[in-house]
Structures are given as C-alpha cells and as structure tokens.
C-alpha cells in the first residue's frame, strides 16, 4: 500500500497540484471556525487536528519511507503519559511535560527504531506491534507510575500568555498552531534532500545503497522523527483531555492511526490529515445512530482499498485534474 502512494516528486513538479488551491480557503475556514460554530464542534475539530498530527507522523514513515508500522500508539502514548505524569505527579507545568513528552517519544523511537528497521515488510510490522504491546503492558501494570487501567486524571489545562486553555477556542487555536507547525516541518522534511533519499530507498533500496546512501541511517531518522511527532500529538491530546489512560497506547489506537493514513492517502501528508477528519467525523455522526459505527468505517476502508488505492486525497487529486 505504501509503494503505490501518490507521491512522486516529478508528479508534483510538473503539474500544479489542484488540491493546493484549496489550502488557503481551508486555512481560512480553520481560523474562523471557533467564531462560526458551537463549542461542541470546536472540541471535535480540536480532536481532529490532534489526530491529524499523529496520522501525518505515521505517514512520514509509511508513505515516504515504505515502513508500515503498527506501533504508532506507543509514541503517542509516551507523549501523553509523560505530559500527565510530570504535570500531575511531579507538579510541573503541562507545557514542560509536553516538551519532555516529545523528547521521551523521540528517544524511545530512536531505540525501538534501531531494532525494527533491520526488518522489512511483515517482520517490521510485527516487531513494531510487539514493542507497542510491551509499552502498553507497562502502562497497564506499572500502577504506581501510570495509575494502571484507570490512568491518571485531574490535570488542569494550563494558561498561555494570559489565555486560559479551559476556553475551547483557545485550546482549539493551540491545536491548530501545533497542526500547522507539524505540517510545515514535515513538508520541509519530505521535500529535503533527506526526504528524497528516503523515498528513493522506499522505491529501490539496492540501487540507493549502491549509490552510497546509508539506508539504515536514513530509515532510523524517519522512525525517530515519526515518533517525535507522534509524541507531540500525544502530549497535546493529554492536555486537551486532562487525563491519560492505557487507551492512549493501545494497539487499537495504532490501528486507528494506520487507518487514517490509508483512508486519506499515504505519502501526501495532507491526505492522512483528511483521513483523520473523515474517521473522527464518521465516528461522531454514525455512533449517535448505531453502536456498530466501526463497520461503517470498515466499509469505507474496503472501498478505499478496492477502488481508490491512493485514498481520499488521491481521489481529490484525480477529480481536480479532470476538472482543470
């Protein structure tokens, strides 16, 4: 699924990306959102933006690096746990906790990645899952630190330059800022010389190594940066919720993030963000009618895999090209 991603640098360079025209109206809507819609909808969009960061973090690894990981929740969870534990148990500011969460996630990703990137395909997939499950059981069993299955709650949302994050609109803008920062940074990374090396190794590792590229080092950096951004989104999720539980590290969440990437279109960054939005919107709308809302997601997922392999973003691209 990753090798057939819609991303080719050549493709981007030759024909102007029709979806690119939509980014400014989309940004305008995002900026105006809290002033136009209810508090409830603002909360939903905040959650979407947070998970969009997680989905984009996996996209770097999966869409651009061709490394399909089933352990992204490990780094999301590490970011969330670090933020809450430092803030609630050690009395630090949640901002400090969030920053520390990013560092912890990136460091853990560097170590786990070092062991995982030696494998390819299914082996890599299973090993990332195994490490994520290891951390998940630690979160569940190390009660004194993590609160076990109850998790840790009672974290107060901090203030930022006089604005209280208790205000949904302020919280929303923090999430929007974090999302835009992640998008800009990740776009820089995939467009850099490093990013091109990463895609080259995804498509033909033998050739890239023969050219002199250190494939394992390139992959390890992708894994680490991916873990860093997953931790970034996890810490923000903890601030948003005010609590953390093993759900933030569960393999169901790894699956959800993976689904968002495939649904939206791997290898495009924006696609997985759209995938996060579609997933959470379907969940929100469908779950008020039926408890089997996941089957609706499942049907959309099957349709994606069968009819538009490059996801919703790929579909939008195709429609845009036809239109122009």
């Amino acid at each position: 699924m990753s090798a057939s991603s819609p991303t080719t640098w050549a493709g981007r360079a030759r024909s102007a990306d029709p979806v690119a025209y939509l980014q400014y109206p989309a940004l305008a809507v995002l900026l105006a959102w809290p002033f136009l819609f209810s508090t409830y909808n603002t909360g939903l969009l905040t959650e979407i933006l947070i998970f969009a960061i997680a989905a984009m973090s996996l996209d770097l690894l999966m869409g651009y690096g061709g490394l399909v990981s089933f352990g992204q929740a490990a780094f999301f969870g590490l970011g969330a746990y670090t933020t809450v534990i430092l803030s609630v148990s050690f009395g630090m500011s949640p901002w400090t906790g969030w920053a520390a969460g990013v560092v912890v996630s990136a460091a853990a990703a560097a170590v786990i990645g070092f062991l995982c990137i030696r494998l390819k395909g299914v082996g890599f997939f299973m090993l990332t899952l195994a490490f994520a499950q290891l951390l998940f059981s630690a979160a569940l069993k190390w009660r004194s630190l993590t609160g076990g299955s109850d998790g840790i709650g009672g974290m107060q949302r901090p203030a930022l330059a006089g604005f209280r994050l208790d205000d949904p609109a302020t919280m929303y803008f923090v999430a929007l800022g974090a999302f835009l920062l992640s998008l800009v940074l990740l776009r820089l990374v995939v467009g850099s010389q490093y990013g091109h090396a990463l895609v080259g190794i995804r498509d033909n590792e033998v050739r890239m190594r023969a050219l002199g590229y250190r494939a394992n080092a390139v992959k390890l950096i992708a894994f680490t940066v991916s873990g860093l951004f997953a931790g970034f989104s996890g810490g923000l999720y903890a601030i948003f919720n005010g609590f953390v539980s093993p759900d933030a590290m569960a393999f169901g969440l790894s699956g959800t993030i993976l689904l968002m990437v495939v649904l939206g279109g791997a290898g495009s960054l924006v696609g997985p963000a759209i995938g996060a939005a579609v997933f959470l919107l379907v969940k929100q709308i469908a779950s008020s009618y039926t408890e089997h809302w996941l089957s609706i997601v499942g049907i959309i997922f099957v349709a994606c895999v069968m009819f538009f392999r490059s996801g919703i973003y790929g579909l939008l691209l195709r429609l845009g090209r036809r239109g122009s």
């Binding site: 080719t8 640098w9 050549a10 493709g11 360079a13 030759r14 820089l188 990374v189 467009g191 850099s192 010389q193 490093y194 990013g195 091109h196 090396a197 080259g200 498509d203 033909n204 033998v206 050739r207 890239m208 190594r209 023969a210 050219l211 002199g212 590229y213 250190r214 494939a215 080092a217 390139v218 950096i221 940066v225």
Partner: protein, 247 residues
C-alpha cells in the same frame, strides 16, 4: 597495484560454486572486460565486488584498502559505482531527478532534513552537465520510465557516474540494445574519464574487442584465461570451450 584488486575470491550457493579462486587487478584507466558463457558466474562476481553479495572467502581491495566488511554504501563512498543488468532507475522520477539523486549521495547532504532538494543549484548543475555529455538533455524533464530503452541504459550509466567514481562496474551495459544504440553507448564508454578503472561484463564480442584493454574469461566460476585481447583470442583453451562455439 591496481585501484581494484581481487584476490582468491570464492563463493558457493550450496553445492553450486559460482566463484572459484578468482583474482584480478584493474588499475586506474584500464577497461577490463569479463566474458564467459551463461552461468559462468560473471554477475555474481560483480555483486561481490559491489557488496550486494558476500563472498565466502578471498579479499577485495579498493585502492589498497580491504572492503570485505563494508556494505555497498561504504564501497560507493570509496569511489566504486555500478550499473545493474536490469534497469533499476526510478521510473516515476524525471531523467534529471534520477541523476540528481545519484549526485546527492556524494555531493549533497542527505542527512539535512530541512534543505530543500529542488533548490540545490550545485546538484542541478552537475546533473545537467552530465545529461548534456550523454546527449540526454532534451529528455531531462521526462519521467525515466517513459524514455526509450536505449536512452534508459545511457541514463543508467549517467546515474552511476553522477558521484564521480574512480571505479566503475558495468553489468552488460549493451544488453537488449539495437546495433545503433550499442554503437552510441560504446562511444559514451570510450569518452569516460581517462583515469577511471572500468570492469565490465559484456556478451557482444564486437563491443568487447572495441573496448577491452584486458580480458578475463570466466568458465564455471573459474578464470580460464586472462590477458590482452590478442592473447585471449590466441589461447587454445578459450577457443575450445568458448570462442570455438562460433563467434
């Protein structure tokens, strides 16, 4: 001592010996051609030199330094470049981007996460001048997968040269080419830098004799003969097992 030295190389897959006590030496500026019937172990030898395959025993030296422990990327950084028998270009990337990606490995900064790849004038200049030398500049913006097979073989060579190697391994560069395309490619290989050490596998005897300074004949993984083209053609055993087959 040669820029590329191979001493007593052995490689077997189970009971199938593909390389048996092979030694050869390629100094700077020499074009050394390996010939031999199918299954003689030519490509396996190139893979072992390139680092794609690990030999069972023997030594490979680049400029006097043993490279047995190095992977392909380490050998590439010592100045070894190679082409592959089957085209392994990036078909979706443009011709220009293929060469730039090759040049980036040596002259770029592949670990700089924030330097935009498309704004490197140095790498773009390198790619452009190499394409001009190969006469591929008019195809620079075409996806590599869309150009003719003959042009792809030339591009393959351009990508290999993009890192300015000291040693070049060519695995059947003319395979599948028309006579005209072959002629063009031979011209390109002749025009390569004078100090480049070239080790190439070739089937087309016309190409072999028009390029080779020295020839090694491989037969069932073993060196049957080695010498100048004249010596090799005059060799009775070579005539018996190989050239006698009617070329």
């Amino acid at each position: 001592m040669g820029l590329l030295e191979i001493e007593g190389l052995n490689k077997a897959f189970g009971s199938l010996t593909v390389t048996r006590n092979v030694s050869l030496s390629v100094p700077s500026g020499r074009k050394h051609v390996i010939i031999g019937p199918n299954g003689a172990g030519k490509t396996s030898l190139i893979h072992q030199i390139g680092g794609q395959l690990q030999p069972d025993s023997g030594r490979i030296l680049i400029d006097g330094a043993e490279v047995g422990k190095l992977g392909p990327e380490g050998r590439a950084r010592l100045g070894l470049a190679r082409t592959f028998q089957k085209n392994t270009l990036f078909p979706k990337l443009s011709v220009h981007e293929n060469v730039r990606l090759g040049a980036q490995a040596r002259f770029g900064s592949p670990f700089d996460l924030f330097r935009p790849a498309r704004r490197s004038t140095e790498l773009d200049d390198r790619a452009a001048s190499l394409l001009a030398r190969f006469g591929l500049d008019h195809l620079a913006q075409a996806p590599a997968g869309s150009i003719s097979y003959g042009d792809q073989r030339q591009l393959e060579l351009a990508v290999a040269l993009s890192g300015e190697p000291r040693i070049l391994l060519l695995d059947e560069p003319t395979s599948g080419l028309s006579p005209t395309e072959t002629k063009a490619l031979v011209g390109v290989i002749r025009s390569l830098p004078d100090d480049l050490a070239i080790l190439m596998i070739e089937h087309d005897m016309e190409v072999v004799f028009s390029l080779a300074d020295r020839i090694t004949v491989l037969y069932y993984g073993e060196v049957l003969a080695e010498g100048t083209p004249e010596e090799v053609t005059a060799n009775a055993r070579v005539q018996e097992v190989y050239l006698g087959a009617g070329i």
